[in-house]
Subunit: 126 residues, 2 copies
């Protein structure tokens, strides 16, 4: 959906949760420790942006986020990537984690386009 | 188990995985974004240390870590805390997440004391 300074940002195709994935564009990186400290500091900025975006998506979907879940698992896909998931106490998996639970609900085209618009607003704010 | 500059570091009482929890000593912090940027940069250093400690525990248990899982969920316990879990492709939950899966296997006193010794070695290295 967007290319940030360090990471590619993608919207997860699952309407159960506002959920984005940040993937640093660093070849061979698997662990956070594989990034330089400078990259890690930049990653902090982009995780913060991703969290605000997820909260904005929750508002747009009339399901305001109550808690962010931020995680690097990478047990299936080794390339370093971070999940930022907006959770609510009435969501499909609460209070458990979302990974591998239930079936994703694909996003409609309109929802994806709306997410792009929201992201573009963020990008303007820098 | 230890008080770092920012976080308390605890060993999770579950012998299925080398697993520590980092809890920043910042009253009221729930999300990573509740920490100042300076605290977040310090947190990066302590997450790195925690990851190296988890790997050292894996070595000590003759179960070298293949992948770290690093996550803030906080759906049950809101106070900001981070899990750093050493995973292996032959562990009890692989490739799924560890939270809420199966039953913890309490650590013996000897294992806990050994972990303290390993941590003390790390602390000396700074």
């Amino acid at each position: 959906m967007a290319s940030l300074d360090l990471c590619d940002l993608r919207l997860q195709d699952d309407g159960r949760f506002p959920w984005v994935v940040l993937t640093p564009r660093r070849a061979g990186a698997v662990e956070l420790a594989d990034l330089s400290y400078a990259d890690q500091c930049r990653w902090l900025v982009e995780v913060d942006l991703a969290g605000r975006l997820v909260r904005a998506l929750g508002e747009a979907w009339s399901r305001p986020v109550e808690k962010l879940n931020i995680a690097n698992l990478g047990n299936v896909t080794p390339q370093l990537h971070w999940h930022i998931v907006g959770r609510r106490s009435d969501d499909a998996c609460w209070p458990g984690p979302v990974w591998g639970q239930g079936s994703p609900e694909p996003l409609g085209q309109e929802t994806v386009e709306n997410a792009r618009t929201i992201f573009a607003e963020f990008a303007k704010q820098g």
